[in-house]
Symmetry: C2
Subunit: 286 residues, 2 copies
């Protein structure tokens, strides 16, 4: 420590966390320091570049509020959020996808069949499906937390014209693990571009758009929580999602339906689209 030089600094910093009692936390910090230093050494990072990086973080801090995190966005657009989802996804179960910035706890509780239409303009969609375990058995106690944007591309928190809690809800699946939810077709939307991430996107010519999607969190006692999204296969931005959330298993067809009995049962006076999403939830094994 009396003579720090470039060949010992990484080990010395890693050793400074030796006193952390939790082994996993210590390991994470050692690895974080190792990768951070390897980045600086491999790129021979200059003072000007280091200052630019700090300036980026300061701009991010400046624009971040309780309801708008440029740091979450940074994780999203650098693919870290998506990678963490992919790391936690077990083969044979429904893959996770990014949580995004518009989730908040406390959605209104509803009952399947759920109806979120409430006068919202847009194409009517019946989202239906099941929640099952890896053995194909229904998970009757599963809850679904659902949110999406309106026909103008905005979530209710962004749009004073929408009523509170518009197009979001929580509900339990039925005894057979099934659910039905009447809603509207979601719309693509732009990530916020008024912060440093927006500057980076303009400099790189990256698409700022997210393809249209439903947000879904599935929870059940004894199972891992699934945070995921369901994508519209006809969306023009499916191949350029700004946050890398699209997986093949999360793209589902929107099928036109015009059966009069179904329409009557759903209280609809016009044809609609149906989209199926069958979730396989991984058990919470150690």
């Amino acid at each position: 420590m009396k003579n720090i030089h470039r060949d010992n600094v990484t080990a010395v910093v890693q050793h400074s966390f030796a006193g952390i009692g939790d082994e996993r936390t210590r390991h994470l910090l050692e690895q974080l320091v190792g990768h951070l230093h390897a980045f600086a050494l491999q790129t021979q990072l200059t003072h000007d570049e280091w200052r630019a990086g700090l300036g980026f973080l300061h701009e991010a801090a400046h624009i971040t509020t309780d309801s708008r995190s440029e740091f979450s966005l940074m994780s999203d657009v650098f693919g870290l959020s998506s990678l963490v989802d992919l790391i936690s996804s077990r083969p044979g179960t429904t893959p996770g996808s990014v949580l995004g910035p518009f989730h908040a706890r406390g959605s209104p509780w509803m009952t399947t069949p759920v109806n979120l239409l409430a006068g919202n303009p847009g194409e009517v969609v019946l989202l239906h499906g099941t929640v099952k375990d890896e053995a194909g058995q229904p998970i009757a106690n599963a809850t679904i937390d659902f949110w999406q944007n309106a026909d103008n591309g905005l979530y209710w928190q962004q749009d004073p014209e929408q009523s509170q809690d518009n197009l979001r809800c929580q509900f339990k699946v039925d005894a057979a693990g099934s659910f039905e939810l009447l809603t509207i077709r979601p719309k693509p939307y732009s990530i916020p571009t008024d912060g440093p991430i927006g500057k980076l996107f303009r400099a790189s010519g990256r698409s700022q758009w997210r393809p249209a999607h439903f947000h879904i969190i599935v929870e059940a006692a004894g199972y891992q929580t699934l945070v995921t999204e369901l994508f519209d296969p006809e969306d023009p931005y499916l191949d350029s999602d700004a946050v890398f959330g699209v997986r093949q298993a999360l793209v589902t067809a929107y099928l036109p339906q015009n059966d009069a009995a179904d329409m009557a049962r759903l209280g609809l006076s016009q044809p609609y689209l149906s989209a199926q999403f069958n979730v396989v939830l991984p058990s919470a094994r150690a």
Copy 2:
């Protein structure tokens, strides 16, 4: 992009920056993404750990102001600032060390021999030395930006009892590249521990102290700017600097002086300490 999985996500994210015109910026972003993803993959980072990391950044953002950056501090205590200094230090020249959070442009201009005593309590120190090039020739146009803390361990910005600009100045070396500066012996001080970094230090039992030091920036046209520190060899925290700034070449002896003529010339009525710092400034070659 339609089917992101853990084996393609890093390359896809790196490719998303392909449109950046500046080759160096593109390279830095690709490397940053590569190391960030390698960290997550090697540690099999979980959602809870990712959320904890984001929470750390949000706490850092919350406590950061224009005059107090938890992000600079994070760079310091993770050894990144020190590593960038070491990367830029050329063998045979004076090593750089961390800038720290208390530098601000616009120090009062003074003339060598500088006198910063101004009634400050503390042991009187004459810091003296030269600024030369790699061939040993004096750099007569060099300027020095100097700042340090007071005898109570605080910088003037932290302490309403101190006058504005206390113990900081800028000055030009003389035609022989020499300078003299009368000041007080600096004191060790704690890094700020009221933010998330403080929590991390308490969890790891790391020392929050920085050994006493002078801050010095040396600039001259045609040369690289040197940001460095000069350490007190008798400091108890020399071997546990919270920000990894100590290098052997930056530790200088404090030698007792009692020559009456020197004391008279310096306007001192008591013995003092002298500390020598001879800077070798690297030329600004491409």
